[in-house]
Amino acid sequence: MKKPPVLDVDAILDDQGTRIIVCCGAGGVGKTTTAAALGLRAAERGRCAVVLTVDPARRLAQSMGLTELDNTPRLISSPEGGGQLFAMMLDMKRTFDEIIEAHADPERARQILSNPFYQSLSSSFAGTQEYMAMEKLGQLRRSDEWDLIIVDTPPSRSALDFLDAPERLGRFLDGRFIRLLTAPAKAGGRSAFRLLNAGFGLMAGAMTKLLGAQVIKDLQTFVSALDAVFGGFRQRAEMTYRLLQAPGTAFVVVAAPERDAMREASYFVERLAEERMPLAGLVVNRVHEPTAAALSAARSAAAAEDLESRGEHELTAAVLRLHTGRMQLAAREHREQDHFLSAHPTVPVVQVRAMSEDVHDLAGLRRIGELLATST
């Protein structure tokens, strides 16, 4: 297998033109840690960076010396050399409320904020998080207070969900169902119902039966109240989407050397190309590289068997078994990566070897940053 080009992390961090780094990939591959490590390294190389995380893990906050992160960027570190690191955690409900408050008159805002559908929408986990992560990213970028924003993507069902968020929002707003619900309000009362097809009576009956009359009423109030602020929503979602396509953005796909994670990484790389989003490269976390790699799995296993059959050097035999297992694991990890590499031979890659311990402090994050930058 030909060696892929190496992802030069420092070149990306040092390029003043890089304004946004998006870390994306399947769940559980270390996206958030990678984002935080990149942020710290950027700050220590003189950038004024903010890490926006959607991962509610307290551990990350603690590793950056805070008890918890919230919706406002907090200063984490001001290393020598003028750089700074800030970090924040997305509070999606707070972010959503702020948008409503900023874009609707007070009476309408009150109506929306107290509607049960709004409360469900704004605090639920699926979907909203993606919209709000994009919204927050746009806000941070427009504020221009930081010269580098590093964001990790929500731990959604599919790593691709957040790319689809603006599109889904658009589809949602243009949906026939929403137009149906807003129609009476727009046309001033019940008359609009008559304009719709004859099937509506049947459907309205079905919906009332299914959901109950109160639900329909709440839903209608919610949709018509929200309708007023939706235009702005959509416009900003599209702006953020275009921001992601701009040359100042670098997508870093994060994976682990496992089948599902590598497959997700492949999808993602293809999807980014389709959407004309700028891909910087692939980070493969948690790679196992045995230190005694010169001793092959087969020779190691044979030697262990030989010792065991003679009943000599039990400990050496056990060490050889351990080594055999590690070599097999490494071989499997190579195979999982090879699928990706042969499908995407031009994508720059960097491997970060597995650490025996989790990251607990800035020193740990710094160590990950070094591994990201120097695994050539």
Binding site: G27, G28, V29, A57, R59, P116, F117, S120, L121, S124, F125, A126, G127, P155, R157, S158, R168, F172, R176, F177, I178, L180, G199, L202, M203, G205, A206, K209, L210, L211, G212, Q214, V215, L219, R259, A261, P290, T291, A292, A294, L295, A303, A304, L307, E312, H313, L315, T316, A317, A318, V319, L320, R321, L322, H323, Q328, R332, S356, E357, D358
Partner: protein
């Protein structure tokens, strides 16, 4: 049918959750196989539209239909169902209101898309509703159709919300059919016939998430089941050797001799140094795992250990895991 005692006798609905990357779907599939063995009939349910079951069993994508996908050890059948919320809604409307046509019209209008976007609680009610229907379903003889149902549920971070359907839709529907339906679902989910199992690895983050998830589940009045520790590597070295490796006092000279005795004399001392480094790393890892095991014990739930499948997960690996689940009494 055998009559062994298991830790979960009387449980009909096994909900399987875990942090991403812990092997949730794999363990759910193995648990279904284990529960089915000895002539039982088990339904394995998937709800996130990822077709994970089809991938694991090496099958084409599953439709919204209960079909037999595997035969369990010593007889028994595993059926699978990939729940599609839209289809579940149509079925629900037909079953309770005889309104198939109106349902189709609503689907065309994008109501399910809408409901999923605006109130994911609705989607969860449809999915859990279908699952609890399968749990309660009885045949002509009055007996339950399935001896057990295994639900490959959303990840740990979302599990309480997902199962706490009444809570989720309470604000949206205070009265009416949705409320009635969710009350029914809630009765099944909160009954002793349900157990929520957590899949974890012996790593800090998944363990923390598991403990948080269990606490959340308990405060929501939902029944925690067992903890399945996945991908456990067997310990090959005696504790004394590990201890000295951690302290950097592993006997490299002895190891060099051993290598020479095994015919690996070329550069034996260099190889021994490198191997000692691997042993030290393994020892640190083992220590960490011991600490994580101790943390998990705080949850005071039955726990089971599943071996790391060195060749990756394939069908024979699934049967191996199912066997491990059975011998430890989880099924």
């Amino acid at each position: 049918m055998d009559s062994r005692d298991t830790d979960w006798d009387g449980v009909r609905l096994h909900v399987v959750t875990g942090k991403g990357g812990t092997g949730k779907t794999t363990v759910a599939a193995a648990l279904a196989l284990a529960l089915a063995s000895g002539g039982r009939k088990v339904l394995l349910v998937e709800v996130e539209g990822r077709q994970g079951i089809a991938q694991i069993f090496d099958l084409p994508p599953l439709p919204y239909e209960e079909r037999r996908i595997a035969v369990a050890p010593s007889g028994g059948d595993v059926y699978a169902l990939a729940i599609d919320p839209e289809e579940a809604m149509l079925e629900y409307m037909e079953m309770f209101y005889g309104m198939r046509r109106a349902g189709r019209a609503l689907t065309k209008m994008g109501i399910v898309d809408f409901a999923t976007t605006v109130a994911p609680g609705f989607r969860d009610v449809l999915v859990t509703g279908k699952t609890s229907e399968a749990v309660r379903r009885r045949g002509k003889n009055g007996k339950r159709i399935y001896d057990a149902v295994v639900l490959d549920a959303p990840p740990t971070g979302r599990i309480s919300r997902f199962l706490n359907v009444t809570q989720e839709v309470a604000g949206l529907a205070r009265v009416g059919p949705i409320k009635n339906h969710s009350d029914l679902v809630s009765k099944v989910v909160k009954s002793p016939e349900t157990a929520v199992h957590f899949i974890t690895l012996l790593e800090e983050m998944p363990v923390q998430e598991t403990l948080d998830g269990i606490a959340e589940l308990r405060s929501a009045g939902l029944p925690p089941g067992g903890i399945f520790i996945n991908m456990v590597r067997e310990s090959l070295l005696p504790q004394a050797a590990l201890d000295s490796a951690v302290k950097g006092r592993f006997d490299v000279a002895e190891l060099t001799l051993g290598l020479k005795a095994a015919g690996l004399s070329d550069g034996a001392s260099t190889v021994a140094e490198a191997l000692a480094e691997e042993v030290a790393e393994h020892a640190r890892r083992t220590e960490l795992e011991r600490a994580e095991r101790a943390s998990l014990a705080q949850a005071t739930l039955p726990s089971y250990e599943l071996p790391l499948l060195t060749d990756g997960v394939d069908l024979s690996g699934l049967y191996e895991l199912a066997e491990a689940i059975r011998t430890q009494g989880a099924a």
